[in-house]
């Protein structure tokens, strides 16, 4: 299986090809080692940082911005979004408060203070 990936580790944005034959992955097109590691991660276990918003139930027209404390599996993004959409939180909220626990090995935490 071959995949073309635009590397995002540095601004060069090399087009890297990762070719997976069985267990062996051959990476070409990268200008550095970091790009090779990134391509392998992208083909095996792509992860993303997720940021979104959660409604503050006891304040009008107010949302609190949130993020995944650690990157989450890319294919689970929309599953997690469903949970985020269903969630709400009550003010006061502090930066770092856990809004959703136990999300694929990490948590969804608040990134803004709401008094």
């Amino acid at each position: 299986m071959k995949r073309n990936i635009t590397c995002i580790v540095c601004p060069r944005g090399c087009t890297v090809t990762a070719d997976m034959q069985g267990e062996i992955i051959t990476v070409t097109g990268n200008a550095c080692k970091r790009g090779e590691k990134h391509a392998i991660a992208e083909i095996l276990h792509p992860v993303r940082s997720l940021t979104s918003i959660v409604r503050v139930s006891n304040r009008r027209d107010t949302m609190v911005s949130v993020k995944s404390a650690a990157p989450i599996p890319k294919e689970k993004m929309f599953d997690i979004m469903k949970r985020i959409h269903a969630a709400s939180v009550e003010a006061p909220v502090k930066i770092g408060d856990v809004i959703l626990a136990d999300v694929f090995g990490t948590e969804i935490i608040a990134t803004k203070e709401v008094r």
Binding site: S49, L50, T51, M63, S65, V66
Partner: protein, 416 residues
């Protein structure tokens, strides 16, 4: 009439960093005037990560980066006037503002302008068609979605592939909308590669380069847009026109430094940056009035905003403490390949290293930047690539500046 040493117009990342720098330099009578309910500026709605990598060594979300500086402001006795809109700044450094308590008049010893940017609108682009609801600037949609929790639309077309457009493509998709296309007038995207990957490729959102929106359709609510490819003159090519049904059009087509107050004060402006003409301490050509952040030049990285604002804060503090410095100004000029250089004038009597900030005119591969004054080379720098969307910084040593007599030009040379 109240008196304060330093008045800062705007409590976004620039205003906050300038306030902290001025305070820490020994001028503690600093006030910030901000029109919102909380300081933090535009970062409050930029909920995505990627802020502070250079400055803080972390990739924070916008609100978290804002909070770092907000805490610094609150920990010092820097007074903040919230929900206060400045309506005038005079050349004599009088600041007039209004809030719920009425009209505020402050006589300052130094004023720091940090009002940020506004967005270019559909009107400025003159997109033909009807005027239905559903056409937003990307930042307005961002505020509605991220701060107030509105779903601004379900089927979205985005015009402009700068970072704001790309970020909103991802935001809208995650919040349940379908983004049909991102159209970009230029043959290249202005956004960061990581955003092309994580905002478009991740969600299979097509990016149409050399394409624009040439008509808006719909009565009451937007029903669709006509897009078309453009030629070298950036005019739509008739035969390529096609219709995309949608209920929302987001415009990410340029930021304009918000310089109404600056112009009214009679402060000379640079038509290319759309910001004030400043020296290496961000002082405008009216002594005692400084400008920093997006109001001075549109930035890509908030890290550089904080750094620039600290220069302005320091400059203002030094002016208040020591009065005007002895100065002899030499102008800077953009040469080949360079669109603009900041600061536009340098005080060669200052005896300090100076950093020049610039943007290139188009994307380049390997280049060498050269800073010259007449025949004298003041600095050179090699880069593997340079793009208009990535501000460059070049340093000039203090002792080389002492020898300068002619305008300082910054140009580039393409390396094969």
């Amino acid at each position: 009439m109240t008196n304060h040493d330093i008045v800062i117009v705007g409590g976004g990342p620039a205003g906050m960093a300038a306030a902290v720098a001025a305070y820490d330099a020994g001028v503690t009578d600093v006030v910030i005037l901000d029109r919102e309910q909380d300081i933090g500026g535009i970062l409050r709605q930029c909920i995505h990560a990627g802020f502070g990598l250079h400055r803080l060594g972390q990739e924070l979300t916008g609100p978290e980066y804002a909070d770092v500086y907000k805490q610094k402001v609150l920990q010092r006795s820097i007074r903040v006037y919230y929900e206060t809109t400045v309506t005038a700044v005079t050349p004599e450094k009088k600041v007039i503002a209004q809030n719920r308590d009425g009209i505020l008049q402050i006589q300052a010893k130094a004023v720091i302008l940090a009002m940020g940017c506004r967005e270019r609108s559909r009107g400025a682009l003159n997109i033909p068609g009807t005027r239905p609801a559903g056409v937003f600037s990307a930042g307005t949609a961002q505020k509605f979605v991220n701060c107030e929790g509105y779903t601004v639309g379900k089927k979205v077309v985005i015009l402009g592939s700068g970072d704001i457009g790309l970020i909103m493509a991802r935001r809208m998709t995650l919040e349940g909308a379908k983004v049909e296309a991102v159209c970009e007038l230029m043959p290249y995207s202005g956004g960061l590669t990581r955003n092309i990957v994580q905002c478009l490729e991740d969600f299979d959102i097509p990016l149409y380069l050399s394409t624009t929106v040439c008509e808006i359709h719909g009565e009451g609510r937007l029903e669709g847009v006509t897009i078309a490819q453009v030629d070298e003159k950036r005019s739509p090519i008739e035969e390529t026109k096609r219709y995309i049904p949608c209920d929302t059009l987001l415009l990410s087509v340029g930021l304009i430094p918000e310089n109404e107050l600056t112009r009214t004060a009679g402060i000379p402006m640079d038509p290319i940056t759309s910001g004030a003409i400043v020296d290496e301490h961000c002082q405008t050509q009216i002594p005692g009035i400084f400008a920093c952040g997006n109001v001075l030049q549109v930035h890509d990285l908030v890290d550089y905003v904080s750094e620039e604002a600290e220069r302005a804060g320091l400059g203002a503090a030094n002016l208040v403490k020591n009065g005007e410095k002895e100065s002899e100004y030499i102008p800077t000029k953009p040469g080949f390949g360079v669109r603009y250089v900041l600061p536009q004038q340098v005080n060669i009597l200052a005896n300090e290293d100076v950093s020049l900030f610039l943007r290139v005119t188009e994307p380049f591969g390997k280049v060498i930047f050269t800073v010259k004054s007449g025949d004298c080379v003041l600095a050179t720098a090699k880069r593997l690539r340079a793009a208009p969307g990535e501000m460059e910084k070049l340093n000039i040593q203090a002792d080389l500046l002492k020898t300068v007599k002619e305008p300082i030009t910054v140009s580039l040379e393409v390396v094969e």
